[in-house]
């Protein structure tokens, strides 16, 4: 969902690469309507690529055609995007190598003056 917002960095700035990540699973309520609404907005390929890097192999390589009615798929998606939290780590922009630190699950997106 995030891209690099450093000034002048507007090509190849997505997805941010995750490094030294500590993951945490947290149960969340299953919200089918929300997931269906999100289907159109997800960059599915980027999501799969990112989850593979985090050793999550549950997601199928391509989105099933009947995604909105495929309960099994929605459950997996729910687990990946809503119940998996990144406790700490780094996000690195693949283009300008800007590092965003994540602490206590809160990414620090602040930029220095010259980057605005």
């Amino acid at each position: 969902m995030l891209q690099c917002h450093v000034k002048g960095c507007d090509a190849n700035n997505f997805p941010l690469e995750l490094q030294e990540v500590v993951l945490e699973q947290e149960e969340a309520e299953f919200n089918e309507d929300f997931l269906k609404n999100m289907l159109g907005k997800l960059e599915y390929e980027a999501l799969v690529a990112t989850s593979l890097k985090l050793d999550i192999h549950d997601l199928p390589a391509t989105m099933p055609e009947d995604a909105a009615y495929n309960d099994e798929f929605l459950q997996i998606l729910h687990r990946v995007i809503l119940e998996t939290h990144i406790k700490s780590g780094k996000m690195v922009c693949p283009n300008c190598q800007h590092i965003y630190n994540i602490r206590d699950g809160i990414p620090n997106m602040l930029l220095a003056e010259h980057e605005v």
Partner: protein
């Protein structure tokens, strides 16, 4: 009314103790929840639709609670780390970011179904550092916001403008970034309940329905809203006047009689006792 944005930059005003105080204050919490509720109402999302909402300046997640109650998932960011820590302690249900709205946002285009923001915009009109230019910051904020919203999505900002110039500046920036919309002023005739909501539309709905400006509350004669905020608990007032009126006068009739007896025993000339003894003199007219 004192304006916190005149004191210091937001990350300092809402740092440490102030963050806990702000969240612990039931009156502030009630006002925030009420404004957040109104903002969600103004978002005008279809009934039962579970959207992905951005909360700009989420603070300790007071407004996020309202979003969760309405069945939305939300993402919030704030510039004050102390407020975010309080949000973590309260186990806010949304994802949190440490971010400066004036630096723009790093969300993918078309991510959100709506955006709410409670009491934040006026902070962007400040120049807290020499490198800050309010207009540039507002432009950056609105342009990145515009792209991160789905077409036809709304952004509702509750804010406390200081003067008309600020309103003009904010609206001008928003319009130049492609937003449509305007200002909704609830209870314009009331000094206390008057609230400014900036309603922005990120383009028209795809199906071509023209977006209608929402109507403001309490535009008629009835100025004040019905009070449903915090009920004041009866607190014993420490008022000296009230206390003194309840206290028994120390020099009552018995005291006077006792004194007179003492004087008589000494042989002094003393007025005889009667039913008028130790009574208050009524004023003559």
């Amino acid at each position: 009314m004192s304006r916190p944005e005149h004191q210091a930059p937001p990350e300092i005003v809402y740092g440490g103790d102030e963050a806990a105080k702000y969240t612990g204050n039931s009156r502030i919490a009630a006002i925030q929840a009420e404004m957040a509720g109104r903002a969600v109402e103004l978002l005008n999302l279809p009934e039962g639709y579970s959207g992905f909402i951005l909360d700009v300046g989420c603070g300790s997640g007071l407004s996020g609670e309202v979003l969760t109650e309405e069945g939305h998932e939300w993402v919030g960011f704030d510039i004050a780390p102390a407020m975010l820590e309080v949000a973590l302690e309260n186990e806010a249900s949304g994802d949190l970011f440490l971010q400066d709205a004036g630096q723009g946002m790093a969300f993918r285009p078309g991510t959100f179904d709506g955006c709410i923001s409670i009491s934040v915009l006026q902070w962007l009109c400040n120049a807290d550092k020499s490198s800050h230019h309010p207009k540039a910051r507002l432009m950056r904020f609105f342009s990145t916001l515009y792209s991160s919203l789905r077409r036809g999505a709304r952004a509702i900002f509750q804010f406390y403008p200081e003067n008309d110039d600020q309103v003009q500046l904010i609206m001008g920036c928003a319009v130049r970034c492609g937003f449509e919309g305007g200002l909704v002023i609830d209870y314009p005739n009331s000094k206390r309940a008057k609230k400014f909501y900036l309603c922005l539309f990120a383009g028209q709905e795809i199906n071509g329905v023209k977006q209608q400006m929402p109507t403001a509350l309490g535009e008629g004669e009835e100025g004040e809203p019905t009070e449903n905020g915090v009920q004041y608990t009866s607190k014993k007032r420490n008022d000296s006047r009230i206390r003194s009126s309840k206290r028994k006068p120390s020099k009552d009739k018995n005291w006077v009689l006792k004194k007179k007896d003492q004087l008589r025993a000494k042989g002094d000339k003393t007025a005889s006792d009667s039913k008028f003894t130790a009574r208050k003199r009524r004023p003559k007219f």
